[in-house]
Point group: C2
Chain length 235, copies 2
DNA sequence: TCAATAGTGTCTGTTAGACATTATGGA
DNA sequence: TCCATAATGTCTAACAGACACTATTGA
């Protein structure tokens, strides 16, 4: 998070062909009441008005994950606080590189960690994405869905908050990520049952209502796993 | 499922280098009380005693999914009834091709559709896998986990059963896939609430107990989505 | 009749969601 | 005092798991 400074040399784009596949990163950040995804200007001078998702190729000796983290950092100016592979996209939909294969990663970065828009990059709310190359459009749709389904198993919401946070802030982050409202009492009961947070001695001073207690993320051992069988085959 | 006959020419292995990544298939079939995964003999003559997962490269003009289906068919002699991408594996763990990147697919095929072991292939119970190249070992582990988590959203169990089946057969398939016992009454209640099956007029004649009614898979519209928030961050 | 399997009814503990209430600060 | 927000208590419907029971066939 200390690593700032966007390189002035064309970031997030391959300058030479090293391999036959691209690594694309869908980087989300909370903005207002919804998520926003990072896009950069197309490298092709004939299409400078088009927006694309940041991508690059893996450098020699660089693993997929290392390359994805680097691409996210170069494109946004900050290290992503969570990143996971989405999958490989190899259909014949167009990609800026015309590479036959692309490996997509989903990542998030806290709101305060990145600068806003600039000449070469912009954040688009997920409800109004720009026109993207077809393959990247499929990645963006898949990334949002994967982000929401993986929230159950990865501490994504916590990685978007400071080390200490109020339960209302945590719930708002969950609501922003899931795109739906949650029930306050149920949310806190489930949180307590999961032993995911512990209270601190700090209280929030600002605001005009009752002060809120700050909590920190401290996952503990869990008792039994999920009960029952789920049949969520349709919506 | 009519497509039988294993080609006598070395299947499931690339004969020439067309691209820089491999496509690997982890194909499961029910065998007894557990799943078994298909392995083939290593192509390298110096390692004919080693087992590997079937793989190949994509043919020109062939999509990832098409190639994966073809590889599964060539290796097992039958079309998989369900197949989905697992992800890209690009770490520096060894792969038979030494390709820098592999795209893995998980697939299943019903028990009756494939022949058993032969000189060039064998089914290994998931609890006693053979020694595999490190990258393929990671794929196998990931495939089993993905299979179980994706059962909620994909009709995997139904694709492993004939068009008509009894509820006991369906439950046994779920138990085999999940690797744990399920409660009969709860299983049937959840099944009814999900509107996933409909009864037929057929009854099972064999067996010495009370005849069982045959059902067929017929998913209907669902009412509201999943309730609540889940915090399954640990175990 | 017994054995074996299919299918169902009922009870109980848990939990999600709704609602109401109390607590605590600032304006 | 009033307002805004935090935090909690209570009620209810839904549901998972356990258990028992009935039903129906073959040996």
């Amino acid at each position: 998070m200390r690593d700032r400074g966007v390189p002035s040399t064309s970031p997030a784009r391959a300058s030479s062909r090293r391999s036959s596949y691209s690594i694309d990163v869908i980087l989300f950040t909370p903005r207002g009441k919804q998520l926003a995804a990072l896009c950069v200007r197309a490298g092709d001078p004939r299409a400078r008005e088009r927006w694309i998702l940041p991508y690059d190729e893996a450098a020699p000796g660089e693993s997929l994950d290392e390359a994805a983290r680097r691409i996210a950092r170069e494109a946004s100016g900050a290290d992503p606080t969570w990143i996971e592979q989405l999958g490989a996209f190899g259909d014949d939909r167009r990609h800026p590189t015309n590479a036959p294969l692309s490996v997509a990663f989903v990542a998030v970065v806290p709101a305060g960690a990145v600068e806003g828009a600039s000449e070469d990059r912009a954040w688009f709310g997920v409800s109004e994405p720009p026109v993207l190359p077809p393959r990247q459009r499929a990645m963006l749709d898949g990334a949002l869905e994967a982000l929401r389904t993986r929230m159950d198993h990865a501490p994504i919401a916590f990685r978007l908050l400071p080390a200490m946070f109020t339960l209302s802030e945590l719930q708002q982050m969950y609501e922003l990520l899931l795109g739906k409202r949650l029930h306050k009492a149920s949310f806190r009961r489930a949180l307590q049952a999961a032993f995911l947070v512990e209270p601190t001695d700090e209280w929030r001073s600002e605001g005009r209502g009752r002060p809120a207690q700050f909590f920190r993320f401290s996952p503990r051992k869990r008792r039994g796993g999920r009960r029952g069988v789920r049949f969520d085959l349709l919506s």
